[in-house]
């Protein structure tokens, strides 16, 4: 490492150095430096001369531009230990490649779904209970309901006709969705809600639409859609033209225990009914017959109630409920998803892309800068170490 000039040379020292240079240049020197001049000339004359064969061979090698294939290297020369340094391009591109890999990994981690969810998106699967796929649940619920109806009229076995089979969960799913739209578009958006309910093979249980043309405009819907089509319906409702999603909540409730309990109660009522019918067949007295008929009526009423309760539970499983509210708002975006290309939307997307890119770049820099500093420090230490080793070799020589 170069050191700064601490101070100018002393006059005597400077004069001696000038005398040396003058001697080597063939110029006269001050007589008081004659001894120094003589020493300088002797030192110059002690210069080791290059051998003739070496000079000729070097000239040839230079003429061939150090071509390895030239074969002009003298046999007496030992193999030149020329450590091949990595190509300059490699040295440049290796850190660039490493940095690009870091950026790519960060980008993947940042942008992959689940890493950070976009606002307004509906979180699918948030309501799913283990083993309760929408289609499967609805199908199994329908099947259980059919079995229950059949049992109501024909089943005479002892087992509960509608008890859920082992491991098949009965899950009630529901969702709340809040949308925002311009006050003047309440009607148009509400109409789309009806269309979505129809396309999902569901229905609108009740609705309330208040269109005032101002921010007080709002609409509320209670939708019932087959559980198998719940996610499809939510997805469509989230992309209604002219509306944006304000909030979305999915929930689920496992009612397997309730369904099982209702089934058991129904089976017990039916068993009681069969027992009473048997006793009625063997009754002789009028009092006994009347009493048994009264008990059978009560048992039938109990069976009807339990059957209705079971049917309600099955209906809840088969059909999911969506509570949808639409609020008129002047600040709502002019278009929702699927509203087509507009300059405003394109500008919004462009800004978002730039923000994400800047974030990724910032993260990459946060990783790369410390790495670069460490690498630079290591390189500096390596150079210092190598220099010190060389200097120490000179000291030992």
């Amino acid at each position: 490492m170069r050191t700064a000039d601490p101070e100018p040379l002393e006059p005597e020292m400077e004069a001696a150095l000038e005398a040396i240079d003058a001697t080597l240049a063939g110029d006269p020197v001050d007589p008081r430096h004659a001894e120094l001049a003589e020493l300088a000339l002797i030192l110059r004359d002690e210069r080791p001369p290059a051998g003739e064969s070496f000079a000729v061979a070097m000239d040839a090698r230079v003429r061939d531009r150090f071509s390895v294939a030239s074969g002009r290297r003298p046999r007496s020369w030992r193999a030149v230990r020329l450590p091949r340094r990595p190509a300059k391009g490699w040295m440049v591109w290796a850190p660039v490649g490493a940095l690009a890999a870091v950026v790519l990994v960060i980008a993947l981690v940042t942008l992959v779904p689940g890493g950070s969810s976009a606002p307004g998106s509906v979180s699918s699967g948030a309501s799913s209970a283990p083993g309760s796929g929408g289609a499967g649940t609805a199908a199994s619920a329908g099947s259980a309901s059919a079995n229950s109806s059949a049992a109501r009229s024909t089943n005479t076995g002892a087992g509960p006709p509608t008890a859920p089979s082992g491991g098949e969960r009965q899950v009630v799913q529901s969702a709340r969705l809040a949308l925002s739209t311009r006050p003047g578009k309440i009607d148009a958006v509400s109409q789309q809600v009806f269309d979505v309910a129809g396309s999902a093979k569901g229905y609108v249980a009740n609705s309330s639409v208040t269109a005032t043309g101002r921010s007080s405009s709002n609409a509320e819907f209670q939708l019932r859609v087959p559980s198998a089509n719940l996610q499809q319906a939510l997805s469509q409702l989230s992309r209604l033209r002219g509306a944006t999603v304000v909030s979305s909540t999915n929930s689920s409730n496992d009612i397997t225990g309730q369904v099982g309990g209702a089934g058991r109660r129904l089976a017990e009522a039916r068993a009681l009914e069969r027992s009473l019918l048997g006793r009625l067949a063997n009754a002789y007295t009028t009092e006994q017959i009347d009493s048994l008929k009264a008990q059978i009526r009560d048992a039938n009423a109990t069976i009807d109630r339990d059957q209705a309760a079971l049917n309600r539970l099955h209906a809840q499983v088969r059909y999911s409920q969506i509570a949808l509210t639409i609020q008129g708002s002047a600040a709502a975006g002019p278009t929702g998803h699927g509203g087509g290309f507009t300059l405003h939307r394109a500008g919004h997307d462009a800004v978002r892309v730039l923000v994400v890119a800047a974030g990724v770049l910032l993260i990459a820099l946060a990783v790369a800068i410390p790495l670069a500093l460490v690498a630079a420090l290591a390189a500096w230490l390596s150079l210092r170490l190598r220099r010190r080793r060389r200097e120490s070799a000179l000291d030992r020589a």
Binding site: M1, R2, T3, A4, D5, P6, E7, P8, L9, M13, E14, A16, L17, E18, I20, D21, A22, L24, A25, D27, E35, L36, E38, L39, A40, I42, L43, R44, D45, E46, R47, P48, P49, A50, G51, F54, A55, V56, M58, D59, R61, V62, R63, R65, F66, R73, S76, W77, R78, V80, R81, L82, R389, R390, E391, A393, L394, D395, R396, A397
Partner: protein, 188 residues
């Protein structure tokens, strides 16, 4: 003042074909540098290593390295001779390190006490005393003698090669000369 840098003599004209190097004049500059510095670099390396065969190897290696790196030379960082001698110095010191690892230093091939027959008696004695004094110098002192009197570098160029200032190089040279003079007086 500093002598002219071009000291090597008797170098055969190496260029036998037009310069077709894609880097333009880089090859011509290198060729000129070779012609002006070959013997100086050899002399410097030979003084440092005290082994003519190793000095030939290292000199060839230094020029080959300089040729490979000729595109990286930056004139703003110094003259080409200092750059070339820096490469040669690194190669020579690496050779010294290698020798230290492998075996003891190779002994001087020449008998430093042997005077030249052509010299007069007094001059011969004086040369013998100088040679003995040089042999007694440590590596750093011997190096600056080699750079100045065998390599033909100016004090500024010596500073660039050693990574020190010109003033520091001058001071080191002056002290080495004083040490040599005292040793010669003592031997004489």
């Amino acid at each position: 003042m500093d002598p002219e840098p071009e000291r090597s003599a008797g170098v055969i004209e190496a260029r036998s074909q037009p310069a077709t190097d894609p880097r333009g004049g880089a090859w011509e500059r290198f060729e000129q540098l070779y012609r002006s510095s070959r013997d100086d670099v050899y002399a410097y390396v030979a003084t440092l290593l005290r082994d003519p065969a190793a000095a030939e190897d290292v000199t060839a290696l230094a020029f080959e390295r300089a040729y490979r790196r000729r595109g990286t030379f930056d004139r703003r960082r110094g003259v080409e001779r200092a750059w070339l001698f820096g490469i040669a110095r690194n190669a020579a010191l690496d050779e010294l390190r290698r020798r230290t690892r492998v075996a003891a230093l190779v002994v001087d091939p020449e008998d430093v006490a042997a005077p030249s027959v052509a010299d007069g008696a007094e001059v011969a004695l004086r040369r013998t005393a100088v040679r003995s004094a040089i042999a007694a110098l440590n590596g750093r002192e011997r190096e600056i003698v080699a750079l100045k009197f065998h390599g033909g570098l100016t004090n500024g160029e010596i500073g660039r090669v050693l990574g020190i200032s010109e003033t520091a190089a001058g001071t080191l040279l002056y002290r080495t000369m004083e040490k040599l003079r005292r040793a010669c007086d003592a031997n004489g």
